[in-house]
Structures are given as C-alpha cells and as structure tokens.
C-alpha cells in the first residue's frame, strides 16, 4: 500500500534534498529518480484502482478527519491524472535535462515542486489547500518559464505573474466568503451545505476557470506557451491543464448543476475561439498553445455536460483529456527537436520517418480520428448531445474540431511537403525517448479506450491491424510490401466472400479485388517507399471494414479510417499539399455531418444497425437524411463540395490516383446506396430530398464535364471527369428505381475500370514526359502504343459509344429515365454526355496524336508494371462489354427484392427492359465484321501507302515551323468558353475560399486582442469575469 501522500512528500523531499547536492548530474539523477518514484506510485494506484479492483481512498492528514483537517482523495480519476502529471513531468525532465543541468539544482527543485503542486491540485479535497497548490503551481510556472532559451520568456513570465495575482485575489475573496457562508473548506462539506453562497462561489469558480485559460482571458498563457521551453510547455499543457480541469470538475461537483451551463459556455467559446485563432498562426509553439487552450476548453465544455453524459462522463472527458495530454505533450517535445519556429520548419522531421509517424499519431489523436480515445469520446459525446437535443453545442463542437483538423493537417502537410531549411533536428536520445513514450502511450490509450468502449475495439479489426503492421514492416523493400499488400487484400476478400450480398459484393470486388489489381502498378516503384503502404493499407482497411459494417459505429469508424488513410496517400504527391489539406478538411466536415446524422438518428442508442435508419420517423428522418447525404456527397465530390477533388486526384502519385479515384470515390456511393436503401425518399419542407439529389447529380455531371473540357492538365481533366461521372452515379441512385440503381452500379464498375486505367495511362505518360500539361505532349502514339490503346479503349468505354461497356451504362440509363418520375434534371444529364466526348477527345488527341515534340522523341513506353494493370483493365472492359450479365444479373435480381419491379430480363444474350432491348454480343460481332471488312478493303486498295513523318502535312503551301506551333492543343475548346464559360466560373471555389479567407481574416483580426501587454491581459481577465457574471445573472 503506497500512500498517495508519496506523490506530495516525495517530490517535496526531493526538492529540499537538491539543495544539498552540488553536482548537477547527481542532482539530475535525484530529480529523475524522484519523479520516477512518484510516477511509479501513481502507476501503482492506477493499477490498483483500475484493474485490481481497489476502492477509492480518502487520505486524512493530521490524524483528523475532514472537514477539520485537510483530506486527500485517491480514486481512479485522480490516479490517472497524477500518472499523467508525473509521467509528463518525468519525460519533460528527461527532455530538458541539459537545460536543467545547466541551470542547476534550483530549477530541478522548481520542477519537482511544480509536479507536486499539480498532483496536489488533483488530490486535495480542501478549497484553501487547492488555492495553495495553485499558487505553488503559479510560482513554479513563473520559475520554469525561465528555463527557456528565448529572451522573451521574461516578459511572458511577468505577464503570467500579473494575471495570476488577479486570479489569486479573486480566488481568495471567493474562498473566504465561501468559508464564511458554509463554515467549512472541505469540498464535500461545501457541497452538502444548505446555503450556497452564489457570488462567493462564483468568484472561486471563475478563478479556477481563469486558470483554464478561457477565451479571451488567455493571452498570457499563449505568450507562455510560445516562449517557454517546449518540455515545460508540454508540462503546462498536459499536466497543468489536466490538473486545472480536474479542479474545475471538483468545483462543478460542489456547485451542482446550476454551474454547468456556464462551464459549457466558457468551454465551448474557448474551444471555438482557440481553434479559430490558431488558424493564422505561423509559430509552432504558439499554435500548440492555441490548440491547448482550445482542447482544454472542449474538456471544460464536456464537464459542463456531465449532467447529460451521466455514466459516460469520465469515458468522454478522459478520452478527450488523455488525447490532448499525450498528443500535445508529444507535439511540444517534438517542437523541442525542431530547430526553427516556423510551421514549415517541421519539414526537418522528414529526416527521421519514425518522427513523422509520431507526428501523424499526435495529429490524428488530436483530431479525434480512430482508433484514438478522442474518437470514441467524440462518438459518445455527440451521441448524447444529439439525444438531448443540444444541437447548437454539438454543431459548435464539430465546427471547432473541423477548424482544429484544418490547421493541424495543414501543418502536417507542411512537415511532409515543404523544403527543410537550414538547421536540422536536435535528435539526442533524451529528446527522442519522451516522444517515443508519447507515441506508445497514444497507442496504448487507443487500445484502452477501445477496450473500455461500449463499441467494438477498433484495434481488434483485422484489416486495421494488417494496415498498422505495415508501419512496422516499413523497412522492407517496396516489392515485398506490395506483394504482402496484394496478398492481404486478396486473402481478406476470399475470407469474407461469403458475407456480401450482391450489392455489397460489387463494391467489395472493386475495393478489394480491384484494389489488388491497382496495386500491381505499385511494383514499378523502387526502394522502400516509406509511408506508402501503411497509408494505402489504412485506406483499404477502412474500405474493407466499411463494406462489412453493420452498425453505425463501425461504419463511421471505417469511414474515418479510410479518410485518414487516403489523406496520407494523397499527401504523398509532389505538389499535393494544399489539395490534400482541402481533401481532409472537406472529408472530415462530411464525416462530422455523418457523425451528427447518426447521432441524431440514434436518439441516445449507443450504436444501431445501419439498416435501422429505415425505422426513423418524420420530424427527424429528413434531417438525418440530409446530414448523411451531404456527408456522403462530400466524398463523391458532388458539385459545390467538389473543390477538393481535382487537385487531390491530379497531384497524387501515379499509382495513387487510380486508388483515390477509381476506388475511394466508391465509398461515397456505397454510403449513399446504403442510405437510400434504408431511408428511401424523404421530404423536408415540401422538398423531396431525393429530387434534390437528382438535381445535384445532374448538375455535377454537367458542370464536372464542362470543367473537364477546359483543363490543360491531363490528370486534372480526369479528376473533373470523375466529378461528372460520380454525378451520373448519384443521379442513378437518386432516381430510386430499379434501373437507376442498376445504372449506378454499372457506373461504379465501369468508372472503376476506365478511370483507373486512364489515370494509370496518363500517369505513365506524365512520368515519361515529365509534364502533365497536355499541350506539351502530343504525337506519342508511336512511342507509347500500349498506353494509347488503353486510353483509346478507356475513352470509347467512357463516352458510351458502342460496342464497349460504357454503352451498356447509357442504355440502362435511358431505360431508367423512362421510368423516372421527374424529367427536368435529365436535361442536364443529356447535355453532359456529348460534353464528355469533348474532353475525352482532347485527352487522346493532345497526348497521343498531333505533333510529337523535340524533347519527347526518345521517350519510352510507360513502365511495365504500370502497363500490367492497364492491360488487365482493357481485357476486363471488353469482357464486361460482352457479358455484362456476369456482374449485373445477380445485382439485378438482388435489386428486384429491394426496389419495385422494372428489372431487366436476361434472355440468352439479349437484355430486355420494358422499353427496349440490347444484345451486346451481336453488336460486337456486327461492328466487328463491318469494321474488318472495310479495313481489309482499304488495305487492298491502299496497300502501298507511303509512311510519312509528322511535318509532311499540307500547310497552305508552306511548311510547319516547329512542332510546338503546329500542335493544336492549348485552349482547345475556346468557343465553348465563349458560349458557356460563365457556367464554370469558380463559384464554389470562390465560396469556400471566401469562407476560409473570412475565417482567417476574422481570426487575424481577433487575435489582435492579444496585444502582448500584461495590463491588457489583466483587463481581459476582469472583463471576462464581469461578462461571465452578467451572463450568469442574466440567465
């Protein structure tokens, strides 16, 4: 039995002892040993209380029971928090050991006392004692700030002192009047007191709240974060934040439910404002400071929701707090390794891939992505808030979280993509160990929270584990990993084959088997390709789990996993940094909508079968539908939400583009299919939502295609084309009839095949020619004949010209339209068909036909491994064109059970609908015979044609000047721009840019609040106090 007092006595004794130790190294050893002892004690308690089944204990001092003497309490929360505090202290001490040793025993003593004070804040049950520990923490903070090498730290420390003077004054007044009114300082006694002194307690409460750095009274904290030694910032952020939060929590327990709204309000305002203000930050530590402030605000808001969270309160609050503590401490420690302060300076981390992994872990953890605790916590929190109808709060939380994800991922993008400048990395083991420990803690907590969650433990999911295994296997050469990956996908597909219904089977085939085929292209990469396989397999893991997901939780978890995996994957492209960012922001925005939708639908249930969406009733159902639909449509890049797609797909690596285009987009369609199957038609305010989707689908098809024809960049062209194609599929689904769905599924298959093929082909060409601008290419047909064939087959299939498979899609599409109820949106669709023709022609013409350029005269065919999947696709396309029934017949039958009749009849080789008929084999044979006959005839009459070269053209009696001036390729469809250019004005881009710009400008304006003047900060604090008071009394 270790007394909890060890946590106080040991550091204190250590601190006093340090005065006797002269040698800095010995002093350091004492310090570390003391902290280690404390951490061990805390760990022991966590073990006892958490696993060994011990009860919480109340520790009396002075041999007298409370309220007459100070008492401490050690329960599971306290044990966990003290463990966090002591461990952070230990690791921070390790991290800054050089500074400590240099500064001498005093600094170490201060550090020990700081840790002791934080533990004391957590443990004590006495109000005044709380004050004492806070003061200790404040003074220790003022001392530790000085450890920084930054000369500005002095000023920050003074500001901190000024503000803590004001806080402690308020706290003292509050305490003494609370004592006066209740006759006790024992927290439980105050809680039990009959008459609660509202104003006095308000002062106590507001003082503790001010310790939590609420907006706007937090300028001092930011200055401290920015200028302190990062290890110490880690301590403030993780340990002090946790301790203060627990103090606030204690006060809220004492104060009762009346104080919860205020806590919530303070917390949420701080959360949103902190994240908003972090947006324009350029200094990593200040950014982390804003983020810390925001996170602590979030936990405070959660504390304010304890009344509704009930038994989940600790799970949620600690999930968020643990995520914050581990990730933030880790990030601060990382910041200590980076030499410069700009966000882009973190590019130096690239020298050490494990550090990038650590960075990714922390960012994902902060952003609340699975499988980290924040994810489970978010799920519970949102679920409860939605069930209680606190939708504004829910919205604000998600909005803040989105902002946070925005700047965190932007920063991550900087680290991965910017050029590392100047000084590198301080990579001493003492700096690396804390980071490593934080990473381990992060994954340990992920396991722990998954284990404790009422939902499935995500880390038990085989696909996810498989993906994570690649992190450990990253030292292997790429081809080994590629083989493993393909084998894994194939094995998982074979393993789960029995579990899919025909609808899911189509998606499974595309995502898993198709994924394996796409991965064949990755054999072309040499070396180790660090980071590629974990990301790719993460995405595939998400996809694999998505198709199998039966309940909302696993669905959403899979959704986020695939989102984050694909984000890392997209980010790998050379210039993809901004595009990957907009991808992740839009995806997370969509994911949050899905989350909210599920939560609203759940009405308090922990998780429910996705199919049960069908049982939702009127007032809620349309809103749920709306949120889910928008969420899924973000992924399918429907018009308006499409701005992330072109860049993300175009800038991705050659073999990544087909994955994110051919495969990933289908996740959105899958979601929509599941949604529509479950919920069917919904009406909101008299508007049929499926009709709205129909219009969106049609508009996406038209505008996507229209934008595609104006692209000069081949991959962007394909990317815009995907928007259009997804529009078709969305349109098909939204028709809500049998044939519409069949057409959508046909599009799913076709789009996978030809878009993967085209992306690979174009990627191969771009790889060889060193450019993606089509007008710089031209005439490559003879040099890259295989690529030409795959593009040719691809565009024939895509344009829907018989006899290839695209026609089947069109045919079903027309038949579906005949049964559709609304006719107007189809006009847009009709228009988009021929437009598709335009960009497809442009694609093949400007790349392969026309004039070959000087510098491309010696390019070779695309790499072998890029060609392999393309040739497989060519075969697949032709096979699918001949016998579409192989894939579609089952689905047709399956759909027959889900949607009213109107299916096709598969009579021999002819496919018959209610309206028409279609015989793919006959078409192929007839066209083949005619074509062959005519070809032979031409060969006969024209057997002696002289093969000429590219300048042997009639040129109005002149000769071409140079290939560049002879290749007609740039601004290919100028008349279209004149006629319809107004349709492709970047309205959506402008809109989103406006929002982003507005947020940044607003943040930039608001942060001028923090003038850097200590007095201003004091004023902020007082204004905050007065304002909160007015808010509370006004309520």
């Amino acid at each position: 039995m270790v007394s909890p007092l060890v946590l106080i006595a040991a550091p204190l004794a250590g601190a006093f002892l340090l005065g006797l130790v002269r040698c800095p190294r010995a002093a350091l050893a004492v310090t570390l040993a003391t902290l280690g002892l404390a951490a061990a004690a805390a760990g022991w308690w966590v073990w006892q209380l958490g696993w060994a089944g011990a009860e919480a204990v109340e520790v009396f001092t002075a041999g007298t029971p409370p309220p007459f003497a100070i008492a401490l309490r050690m329960g599971l929360p306290e044990a966990a928090l003290t463990l966090v505090i002591t461990l952070t202290g230990l690791l921070s001490a390790l991290h800054m050991q050089d500074n400590l040793a240099e500064t001498g025993h005093r600094a170490m003593a201060v550090l020990l006392v700081a840790v002791m004070a934080y533990c004391g804040i957590v443990l004590t049950r006495d109000l005044f004692n709380l004050f004492v520990f806070f003061e200790l923490a404040a003074i220790a903070t003022a001392g530790l700030i000085l450890l920084s090498a930054d000369a500005r730290a002095l000023g920050a420390g003074f500001k901190y002192l000024v503000v803590s003077q004001v806080i402690s004054a308020l706290l003292l007044i509050g305490i003494i009047f609370t004592y006066h009114a209740t006759g006790t300082l024992y927290l439980d006694g105050i809680a039990a007191a009959a008459a609660k002194p509202a104003l006095a307690f308000f002062l106590v409460f507001i003082a503790i709240a001010a310790e939590l750095k609420p907006f706007p009274a937090n300028g001092w904290a930011l200055d401290v974060y920015e200028s302190s030694h990062p290890a110490f910032s880690a301590l403030i952020s993780a340990a002090a934040g946790a301790a203060s939060l627990y103090a606030a929590d204690k006060l809220l327990t004492v104060g009762g439910p009346a104080w919860l709204p205020a806590a919530t309000a303070i917390g949420i305002v701080t959360f949103v404002a902190g994240n908003l203000l972090a947006l324009p930050q350029g200094n990593d530590r200040r950014l982390l400071g804003y983020s810390s402030v925001a996170q602590i605000g979030l936990v405070l808001a959660v504390a304010g929701q304890r009344d509704v969270l009930g038994e989940h309160y600790h799970f949620v609050a600690f999930g968020l707090l643990a995520s914050h503590a581990v990730a933030k401490a880790g990030l601060f420690w990382l910041s200590g390794m980076v030499a410069e302060r700009g966000l882009a300076a973190w590019a130096a981390l690239r020298a050490r891939p494990p550090l990038i992994f650590a960075f990714a872990t922390f960012v994902a953890m902060l952003a609340g992505l699975p499988p980290f605790p924040g994810f489970y916590a978010k799920w519970e929190l949102v679920r409860v808030l939605a069930a209680e109808g606190r939708l504004v709060l829910l919205g604000l939380i998600l909005f803040g979280a989105l902002l946070e994800a925005g700047y965190l991922f932007r920063w991550f993008g900087f680290a991965l993509k910017r050029e590392p400048s100047g000084e590198g990395l301080a990579c001493a083991p003492s700096k690396g160990i804390p980071v490593l420990a934080a990473v381990l803690a992060a994954w340990g907590l992920a396991w722990q929270w998954g284990d404790a969650s009422a939902q499935a433990n995500l880390l038990l999911g085989l696909p996810l584990l498989f993906a994570l295994a690649f992190v450990l296997l990253d030292w292997l050469p790429a081809w080994v990993k590629n083989t493993l990956a393909i084998a894994g996908l194939a094995a998982w597909f074979a393993l789960t084959l029995g579990q899919y219904d025909p609808l899911r089977l189509i998606f499974a085939v595309i995502m898993l088997a198709g994924g394996a085929v796409t991965l064949l292209a990755s054999y072309h990469a040499h070396g180790r390709r660090i980071g590629f396989y974990p990301s790719a397999m993460l995405m595939y893991a998400g996809l694999a789990q998505l198709i199998l997901a039966a309940d909302t939780f696993s669905f959403f978890a899979a959704w986020e996993i695939l989102t984050v995996g694909s984000y890392f994957l997209i980010l790998r492209g050379r210039h993809s940094e901004p595009h990957a960012l907009s991808y992740i922001v839009f995806s997370l925005g969509g994911a949050f909508l899905i989350l909210a939708g599920f939560a609203v639908a759940a009405d308090g249930a922990a998780s429910f079968a996705v199919a049960d969406l069908a049982t939702l009733a009127a007032p809620v159902a349309p809103w749920v539908f709306l949120m889910l639909a928008i969420g899924f449509m973000t992924k399918t890049a429907s018009i308006g939400l499409h701005v992330w797609l072109p860049g993300a797909h175009a800038e991705a690596e050659t073999d990544v583009s087909p994955m994110v285009s051919g495969i990933l987009l289908k996740a959105g369609l899958f979601g929509l299919a599941v949604l529509l199957l479950a919920m069917g038609r919904q009406k909101l305010g008299g508007i049929d939502l499926t009709l709205a989707m129909l219009w969106i689908g049609a508009a996406s098809a038209l505008l996507g295609n229209l934008m595609a024809i104006f692209q000069e960049d081949a991959k962007r062209l394909l990317a815009y084309s995907s928007i259009g194609q997804m529009g078709y599929a969305l349109f098909g689904l939204a028709m809500m009839n049998h044939l519409g769905w069949l057409m959508a599924l046909m599009f799913v298959i076709n789009h996978y095949i030809y878009k993967s093929m085209l992306f690979l082909a174009v990627g191969g060409v771009a790889k060889r020619t060193g450019t993606r601008d089509m007008y710089r290419m031209g005439g490559l047909i003879n040099l890259m004949p295989l690529s030409f064939i795959s593009v040719l087959v691809g565009i024939i299939a895509m344009s829907g010209v018989p006899p290839l498979s695209g026609f089947g899609g069109r045919w079903i599409f027309y038949n579906a339209l005949l049964t559709a109820e609304s006719r107007l949106p189809m006009i847009l669709i009709f228009f988009s068909g021929p437009i598709a023709f335009l960009y497809l022609f442009r694609l093949i013409h400007t790349i392969f036909l026309g004039q070959l350029k000087d510098e491309h005269r010696r390019v070779k065919e695309a790499p072998f491994w890029l060609m392999v999947p393309q040739m497989i696709y060519v075969v697949l396309l032709i096979a699918f064109a001949l016998v579409p029934g192989v894939a579609l017949r089952q689905v047709d039958g399956h759909l027959g059970g889900l949607l009213p009749a109107g299916g096709l009849s598969w009579d021999g080789l002819t496919i018959t609908s209610d309206f028409g008929y279609w015989n793919p084999v006959a078409i192929m044979v007839i066209v083949g015979i005619i074509f062959t006959t005519l070809f032979l005839w031409l060969v006969f009459v024209n057997r002696r044609a002289q093969k000429v070269k590219q300048f042997n053209i009639v040129f109005a009696a002149e000769r071409p000047f140079r290939p560049e001036t002879t290749h007609f390729a740039w601004n290919f469809f100028a008349p279209y721009r004149k006629a319809l250019g107004f349709l492709v004005q970047p309205v959506a881009t402008g809109f989103w840019n406006g929002i982003s710009g507005g947020l940044h400008a607003g943040a930039d304006f608001t942060r001028r609040l923090y003038t850097g003047n200590a007095q201003t900060y004091a004023v902020h604090l007082l204004v905050f106090v007065v304002a909160v008071h007015l808010f509370m009394t006004g309520m």
Binding site: R768, T769, G770, T771, D854, E855, H856, R857, R858, V859, Q946, K947, V948, K949, Q950, F951, N952, V954, A957, E958, R959, P960, F961, R962, P963
Partner: protein
Amino acid sequence: MRDELQKRVVKGPDGVEFEVEPLKDYYCEAPPAEHPPAYLKIVEDLFNWARSQSLWILGFGTGCGAIEMRPLMTPRFDAYRYGVQWRPTPRQSNLFIISGYLSVKTLKRVIRSYEQMQNPKYVVGLGSCTINGGMYWDSYNTIKRLDDYLPVDLYIAGCMPRPEALLAGFETLKHIIREGKAEGANLYARNFDWYKANQKKVIHDWDMPDYNW
C-alpha cells in the same frame, strides 16, 4: 538554312541530351516513286474516264491568271458541269493550274504543293508567262519555262486566256487523260533529279526536304 531546320540538341524529360535533325526527323526523305498503270486495260480505261470526269483543281492562284478562274464557277461558265471543282488541299486535288507568271518565291510553294498531290496529277500552264516568261521574259525573279520545273501536261496560251479558253483546255486535258497520256507524275518521279536540279538552280534559299510528301 533556317534556324528551325538546323540540327539542335535537346534534353529529354529523363535528362538525357540528344540531337534532333529536323529534316530527317520531321520529314519523310523517301524519293517519289513511279506508279505505272497496274490494272487491266479496261479497268484503267474506266479509271481514266473517271479521272477525266473528276478534275479537282487545287485552289492556288499563283499569278494574275487566278482572276480568270473565278468566273468559271459562275452561272455563265459553270465549270462544275464538266466535273471540275476546286479543292482547298493538294492532297485531294489532281489538277494544278499554274495561273500566270510564277515568281521564284511562289515556285517554291508550287513545288511543295505539287509534290503533295497524289499520282496521277496534272499540271496546266495558264498564259504565256508559263511558256516563255511572257512579258516577264527578262525579270530577275520569275521563272521563264514552267516545264523545266514541273511536268506540264497542257499549256493554255494567251495573256490572259479567257475562261472559254480554260474550258477548252479542260476538254483537251480530259482527252489527254482518257488516252492515258497524262503521266506527268511518273515523269516527275523518273526525272526527279533533273527537275530538282532545275528547281534548286533558281531557288537559292532551299529550306525544305527534296521531296515534299
């Protein structure tokens, strides 16, 4: 030699430098081939009839005579009724009317266009200038005898010959074609070196391949 036709060193996308020789790399270097009639007589007769009934003139006015050809399209002369029409591209034309005097500068273009026409092809010299230089007999920059440079099937004399003369010329040309005597293209191929030498004698800035396919 013009800049754009000179050898140049370019760097490929893979960073390897290599040499581009435009005249070799961008133009077909093969010399023209003779294409003697290859089918049975009756088939060739049918073909010759068709060729004679379908005279597609390259729409290229080389000199002042071009103005005389316009009226042929008008209701008054209506050359269409004789199977004559104008084509904008030498690839599809089989009749080249050198309409009047031919400056050296234009000769270059004429040669190029002529060589881009397909066998069989016919050349008609219109006006005195194509015969002996006409009033430009001592000009420093017109050619004097078209026949030195291209195989002429028919001359239509006059300065200028009226459209009626042109129509009559067409009839004569048809006659020649039907008789199988209009083999100027083969003549050109056979005596290619001689024609080329003559051409290069007057064209000093020869900046194209020897034969323009």
